[in-house]
């Protein structure tokens, strides 16, 4: 199908909004994506027509809701190239999924063990592992990055040893947009017997991975980054890992049998899905996956790459503008600063012009420390953004520069 951005924009009702008297230019897609009508309708349809609790009722509504929820799980399974549907665990999002794994690893790690994290992680992929290390006595080591915002792979190899038990890296950096060489990381980590967790929160809207082919042990992501609702995400784990990991939260749904003496746990995936889940969210996650696949990931990537090149060229024409994260391998994210101007000031002025960008440390303070800056302005583009919007951003940044210098 040919890529028609104007037609696609019609699918997103929010894009018709005015902000501060200007047509909204939404360039904060790395924080959360906007939702197409199909996803919004899916949630409304659930609450209007078949809202019921799942997996336990015998009545018709409960059955319909359960079926829809399980269909969504299958859609996720197919989309991410997962072998078994029970390897898909619904979570409240990426952070929840990471905590689930980190908590489970408490029983596997001991003093002397090492876990490796990349220097460009989101705080949510740092803090749970620090907590894990505090609990177990394991050591957290950092895979360094270089000036272009790429991981130093030689150093990664040097860090690997038989003590390495776990490696966790994001597929794409939220602050820089760098696409990390996860294939190579997985192969090399496996050679020393370490398990690998890939954080797909920033990649899932741009790259469709085949998790089976990647042979990754864990992969986590959030629906809201890929046109789905907030409050729902997923954990993929290889079946043998998920069977080994202890349950994270106790409650309904996750049990087989409960007496006051002993409880036996349900099988996968229910062992990790205690309590009533975000049913509408889960079903709409499936709708979001359908929506994106209808457009096609090849088409999305090609279009976004075009926007990224155009925006990079145009922004760099502004004197004193520096881009952080200049890897050749990156998604449509541009983190930048104007010489001598605080990112907060730039963000404030461009917001006045109806443009939504993110400013600050993007929950990735180690990256900001590396570059010795307080933060950046981050424009992150999606397939529904246009060249005209890039032009508006460039004009707004020029205006901000004029006012602020």
């Amino acid at each position: 199908m040919s890529f028609d951005v104007q037609k696609i924009r019609e699918d997103f009702p929010i894009l018709k909004r005015k902000v501060n008297g200007h047509s909204l230019v939404y360039l904060d897609n790395a924080a959360t994506s906007q939702k197409p009508q199909a996803v919004i309708d899916c949630m409304v349809d659930y609450y209007s027509n078949y809202n019921a609790n799942i997996h336990r009722g015998v009545h018709t509504l409960s059955q319909e809701a359960t079926d829809a929820y399980e269909v969504a799980r299958k859609k996720i399974q197919n989309h991410f190239g997962i072998t078994h549907p029970e390897e898909v665990i619904f979570t409240s999002g990426t952070t929840h999924a990471i905590n689930l794994v980190a908590n489970g690893f408490s029983s596997f790690l001991k003093k002397g063990d090492e876990v490796l994290v990349s220097a460009m992680e989101h705080h949510s992929n740092i803090v749970p592992w620090q907590m894990l290390c505090e609990r177990t006595g394991a050591t957290l080591k950092v895979i360094p990055m270089n000036e272009t915002g790429e991981l130093v792979m030689e150093d990664f190899e040097k860090l690997l040893s038989e003590s390495t038990k776990l490696v966790f890296v994001n597929h794409v950096s939220n602050a820089l947009g760098t696409i990390n060489p996860i294939e190579e990381i997985i192969i090399k980590a496996h050679k020393v017997g370490a398990a690998v967790l890939i954080d797909g929160a920033q990649s899932c809207a741009h790259i469709k991975p085949n998790l089976n082919a990647l042979d990754v042990d864990f992969y986590v992501t959030s629906a809201h980054k890929m046109c789905g609702p907030t409050g729902v995400g997923m954990l993929y784990g290889k079946k043998e890992w998920l069977e080994k990991l202890p349950p994270y939260q106790g409650g309904g749904e996750m049990i087989k049998e409960v007496t006051f003496e002993k409880t036996t746990y349900a099988g996968l995936p229910h062992k990790f899905e205690a309590g009533t889940p975000n049913i509408a969210g889960g079903i709409a996650f499936g709708a979001a996956i359908d929506y994106l696949n209808e457009i096609g990931f090849k088409e999305i990537t090609a279009y976004e790459d075009g926007l990224l090149s155009y925006a990079t060229l145009e922004l760099l024409k502004i004197e004193g503008l520096k881009i952080y994260g200049t890897s050749k391998n990156k998604t449509s994210v541009i983190s930048f600063n104007l010489d001598g101007i605080h990112p907060y000031d730039v963000g404030t002025i461009v917001d006045k012009l109806g443009i939504a960008v993110r400013t600050g440390h993007h929950c990735a303070q180690p990256i900001m420390d590396y570059y010795k800056i307080p933060g950046t302005v981050r424009a992150s583009f999606s397939f529904y953004n246009t060249k005209e919007e890039v032009d508006k951003l460039v004009e707004a940044v020029k205006r901000a520069k004029m006012m602020l210098s």
């Binding site: 501060n20 101007i341 605080h342 990112p343 907060y344 000031d345 404030t348 002025i349 006045k352 400013t359 600050g360 440390h361 307080p374 933060g375 006012m403 602020l404």
Partner: protein, 141 residues
């Protein structure tokens, strides 16, 4: 000048600008004209933790009045600080404690003082009032 007079003066001053850009340009100018805080006072203890821009605040008592000096690494934030310093500095502790901040709304800068905006300015006002409370307690001793 009384705190109310200063507030009214600021409201009049800002009402001259219809356009948000002019208003911000004025704010930026105010930020640039904020007297520099002594570099030795820009310490960790005087730092008000906002999420994005740094704000330093120092207070001392002169002739029974609280004198504030402050700085920020972001110029718009600094402009708002300049407004706050103009209002609250050189006032009696009691006046500062009882002062209301609705003039901020009237100037048209309300958005910057929303508690959900991560710029530390709400904490700044709170800190100014806390200093006033502390100085008042000292006086009573």
């Amino acid at each position: 000048m009384t705190i109310t007079t200063i507030q009214e003066e600021l409201i009049d001053e800002f009402s001259l600008f219809d356009d948000w850009m002019d208003k911000y340009e004025h704010l930026i100018e105010l930020g640039k004209s904020l007297p520099l805080i002594d570099a030795s006072l820009k310490t960790e203890e005087r730092l008000i933790k906002g999420c994005q821009s740094k704000v330093w605040l120092h207070a001392e008592m002169t002739d029974g009045k609280v004198v504030f000096t402050a700085d920020s690494d972001a110029i718009i934030t600094k402009g708002i600080i300049a407004v706050l310093v103009r209002v609250f500095s050189n006032q009696l502790p009691e006046t500062i404690i009882n002062a209301d901040t609705s003039f901020i709304d009237e100037i048209g800068l309300k958005e910057h003082l929303s508690p959900t905006r991560a710029n530390g300015l709400v904490s700044m006002i709170k800190q100014m009032k806390l200093y006033a409370v502390a100085f008042q307690a000292q006086q009573k001793k």
